[in-house]
């Protein structure tokens, strides 16, 4: 945000009227896009407190009196609360496993030359080449044959497996960039390799771990395809599935206000976390695109 080009001072008085006009146009454009982005979400949030009647017959107005009951119905009757819990049950252990496994793997690949090191590194890279769709059908039967279909463990293992390529790749780069002097000094001081890893290297890699934690958390939290295929038992639906299920059920039971409240329930935590950590989150998400 520090590099700004100030052109007005260079061009002088002659163009200042034109510059002001283009300045107004620019600000208008930016403001319009902001409205396009924010308004639908704002509309959803205030509509989630309306009655079905109000939603249907006066879509623009604010709720006459806030219907908190919509949220209760979404949370309890439509099981959004259960879906939240299911998502946490899958995503949090997955995340912990991804962080520790990718850190260990990347550390070894970055720091220890041994025959096959490059091969294993490229094997992990290869996983990023293919679209998940290609693996989908064999994966479904594999998980089924292992009796892991409709289990949390099964989905956790699959999430971890599919997150490893990028995480290993990113952390390998990160460990390579750390200075090796500390490592050597610790060994001379009599630390063993495990102590070096857990007490020295892991804390040093914290910034990298935060980036891949954000990246993977959001990827898994919003994942839809894998649970749709591997978690078909409605009791164990994850949040994204539960919401899609609710929408498609809407044809039979008309609880629009409950559905609005469900989307709001899903949006609000993301929004709060984002407002608090927005800088880090933007960095963590775009990190995936800068791998090239």
């Amino acid at each position: 945000m520090t590099t700004t080009v100030k052109s007005s001072s260079v061009t002088g008085n002659q163009q200042s009227a034109g510059a002001r006009l283009s300045g107004i146009a620019i600000n208008l454009f930016l403001a319009i896009w902001a409205v396009i982005v924010i308004f639908p979400m704002g509309w959803l949030l205030y509509s989630s407190l309306k009655t079905d009647q109000e939603i249907f017959f006066s879509p623009w107005t604010l709720p006459a009196s806030p219907q908190w009951d919509n949220f209760v119905r979404a949370w309890q009757d439509a099981h959004i609360g259960d879906y939240f819990l299911n998502s946490f049950i899958v995503v949090l252990p997955s995340l912990a496993l991804i962080l520790i496994l990718s850190a260990m793997t990347a550390y070894v690949l970055a720091r220890f030359p041994f025959p096959g090191n490059r091969f294993i590194f490229y094997l992990f890279l290869a996983g990023m080449l293919f679209p998940v769709f290609m693996a989908l059908i064999p994966l479904f039967f594999l998980v089924k044959d292992l009796h892991l279909l409709n289990t949390f463990q099964g989905l956790i293992l699959v999430y971890v497996a599919f997150s490893l390529p990028f995480s290993v790749f990113f952390m390998t780069g990160f460990f390579k960039s750390l200075p090796s002097e500390l490592h050597e000094a610790a060994i001379i001081d009599g630390a063993n390799q495990y102590q070096v890893f857990f007490k020295i290297m892991l804390p040093l890699a914290q910034a990298g771990l935060v980036s891949i934690a954000i990246f993977n958390f959001l990827g898994m939290w919003n994942q839809y395809l894998l649970p749709v295929v591997l978690m078909t038992d409605a009791k164990r639906y994850l949040l994204t599935q539960g919401l899609a299920f609710m929408l498609h059920q809407q044809y039979y039971k008309n609880d629009w206000s409950g559905l609005f409240a469900a989307v709001a329930l899903i949006m609000i935590p993301t929004l709060i976390v984002y407002v608090v950590f927005q800088g880090q989150i933007q960095k963590g998400i775009t990190v995936g695109a800068l791998k090239g």
Binding site: S7, W60, F130, M134, A161, G292
Partner: protein
């Protein structure tokens, strides 16, 4: 310092390699084989039939219909998203007021799950409860279309949602690239009398070319997928007019139990993605600018 290193290497590598080989490498490898089989699931084993699935696919009008819809997304998403993202990124690096606010708010849709976005927008597009049509009526369009219910508008409506979500992400990417361009280049050009427009085309664009290429490949891969958004908003309808390859193969496999055929479509999808990445890299290759 590397004494006894295998005592560390082996336990550190084995768990992740095991999980990875089982759940990623094995499925990908066996997909190649399954695409050459007839396989209705259940107890029968896959039966080798060579390239018959691919031949069938090429004669399947539903395949071409889905591919055609992906092709529409491959045109709409990259052009509109990247142009808007570049435009906003350039403006927001010029020190306009509220730039931090814009940057934060534009990016937010990227964090929401595609399913939540799909539900939100199917409300917005909804003919009775939606705000879009009542807005259009207010500005004098008396008979606005039923966006998601009309084969003529459905692809445009879904594209709009995908663009709405993606612009902020690519903008943040471009801002990062633009901020890495050395100020001295702009200063020198401004002393020579260059205007904003010239600065953008002659300095910014060439300097962020690599990022632009990455972004192009990313959004094109995104346009070949579109699974979650299609499933939530239209389920491929009305009458297959918004079906894409990913939803088509999912339906063939998991609803129609044609696992061999579905995998053949998935393998084709992989080759399409590969071809796109290679083509974009070739077409956009330029000598990297040194500075």
């Amino acid at each position: 310092m590397y004494r006894n290193k295998y005592r560390l290497i082996i336990p550190f590598l084995i768990p992740s390699l095991l999980i990875y080989l089982t759940f990623v490498i094995y499925p990908y490898a066996s997909a190649m084989y399954i695409s050459l089989t007839r396989w209705r699931g259940l107890s029968q084993p896959p039966q080798f039939i060579g390239l018959a699935n691919f031949q069938k696919m090429l004669q399947d009008e539903h395949f071409w219909n889905a591919l055609g819809n992906n092709a529409v997304y491959l045109i709409t998403l990259p052009t509109i998203t990247l142009i808007l993202a570049l435009f906003f990124a350039f403006l927001l690096t010029q020190g306009v007021p509220l730039s931090k606010f814009y940057r934060i708010s534009y990016f937010f849709p990227q964090l929401m799950s595609v399913v939540a976005i799909g539900v939100l927008w199917s409300f917005v597009y909804h003919p009775t409860i939606g705000i879009l049509n009542s807005l259009l009526q207010a500005i004098g369009i008396s008979n606005p279309p039923i966006w998601l219910g009309n084969p003529k508008t459905v692809l445009g409506a879904v594209s709009g949602v995908a663009i709405w979500q993606a612009v902020g992400f690519y903008m943040v990417l471009f801002i990062a690239a633009m901020e890495a361009v050395p100020m001295s280049l702009y200063e020198a050009a401004m002393i020579d009398g260059a205007n904003r427009w010239q600065l953008f085309w002659k300095i910014t664009i060439p300097m962020i070319w690599e990022t632009l290429m990455t972004a192009m490949i990313f959004i094109m891969i995104f346009a070949t997928n579109m699974f979650a958004i299609t499933q939530t908003m239209t389920q491929g309808g009305p009458s297959r007019s918004s079906e894409v390859l990913s939803t088509f193969l999912y339906d063939e496999a998991f609803l129609g139990s044609k696992f061999g055929y579905g995998t053949a479509i998935a393998v084709t999808l992989f080759f399409i993605v590969l071809a796109i990445s290679l083509t974009v890299q070739r077409l956009m290759r330029r000598d990297t600018l040194e500075y």
